[in-house]
Symmetry: C2
Subunit: 202 residues, 2 copies
DNA sequence: TTGAGAAACAAACACTGTTCAGTTATAGTC
DNA sequence: GACTATAACTGAACAGTGTTTGTTTCTCAA
């Protein structure tokens, strides 16, 4: 066909990402293919490679946007002063975010780069940013604790919440519906805070 | 070529599973292909389909064996009477199991059946069995608690441990090595037990 | 000895990611 | 207005994929 120029490079980039995200949201990662994206946006497969290095590049871009969105959600949560409530609020926001679009969220854990390649620096930075938000939420419950303790504590909480959401969206935690995942989160955060209080005052 | 009969159907079944498991252990799920299995066992791809329905069937079989192995590991753990120590022991056994062969263990969470299909009943049964073992370990720390509370509590612990192992093998918990995953497990179990003690005696 | 059926294969189908030579429409120059 | 350089895009090709099917060959029982 040759030059068309109905989209600028930036627009095309966006169109590709949107189509890809839609495919994943609807049918999961395994349904994503260069030809399927091309079909949807009515370009040839080759065009994708003018703009992205490869499919992994497209997928990583989508993952990055999701991390940003999650970060936004966490930052714009209504203000809650009680430290315990704050932690609870964060955990539930994470759960809601993951349940709002399980297929898309699963992307973060299903997708792996080829052996030997690891995620780009900007990706790690986004992850660290999120972890920072959790640390900030946890810190008030850990007065006088060392930086290290706070970091470890935040990770334990994060990993715990992740474990519940992960197993529940994968449906690998026998008979757990979306509701009861929320209950488990409450239990976890409850125990976690009680544990903190106990070991901290001891 | 035609009939060869160097292997019985059962032997062939085993050879296929062994080769598949080896591929996954060495190169991950994405490296598994019918042709690669066939190459290794020196049969044609078509032969796999005389014995298994499809690749998913092969993969599910391997998953089932892993769940059995984990169950064995947990059952044959040295006897520990202190309830807290018992929970700790279980958590570390789970971590060790998953870290001993991360690629294989990841299979349980990376692999998804096609949309609409869910895991066979025997698979669910194995999961329930594992959960039962966790419940049994947790129960002594929860005297007089309802069945329901024990179930929920066991799941929270299980999911928490899973979250840590999951994020650490995926290397998505910034700077977490195998060692520090163990530390996080200790933290989690410690907080968990402290939390139980606090809320239970309250 | 022969026929039936089991065991295995090879080829085919429709797909996949990726590359790249070739084509075309446009923007800019004269 | 004509012309060219080049950006934009395509489509075919390559080597792979899962799975199905028809065919061949071998074994074993009658």
């Amino acid at each position: 066909m040759g030059r068309r120029s109905v989209h600028t490079a930036d627009q095309l980039r966006e169109v590709i990402i949107d189509a890809s995200r839609a495919i994943i949201a609807e049918q999961g990662l395994q349904a994503l293919s260069a030809r399927e994206i091309a079909r949807r946006i009515e370009y040839s497969p080759g065009t994708l490679y003018n703009i992205f290095q490869n499919l992994d590049d497209i997928i990583l871009t989508i993952e990055g946007q999701m991390l940003d969105r999650l970060s936004d959600v966490l930052t714009t949560l209504p203000v809650v002063t009680d430290p315990g409530q704050r932690v609870r609020q964060l955990a539930h926001a994470y759960l809601k975010f993951s349940h709002d679009n399980p297929k898309l969220w699963n992307l973060l854990f299903e997708h792996h780069l080829p052996a030997g390649q690891d995620v780009p620096a900007w990706y790690r930075a986004k992850l660290n940013g999120l972890m920072g938000q959790v640390e900030a939420a946890v810190a008030p419950s850990l007065e006088n604790a060392s930086e290290d303790t706070i970091r470890r504590s935040a990770r334990v909480l994060w990993a715990g919440v992740h474990g519940i959401t992960s197993l529940s969206t994968a449906d690998k935690l026998s008979n757990v519906t979306s509701d009861t995942a929320g209950q488990l989160i409450d239990d976890l955060v409850g125990l976690y805070l009680a544990g903190l209080a106990a070991t901290h005052s001891a």
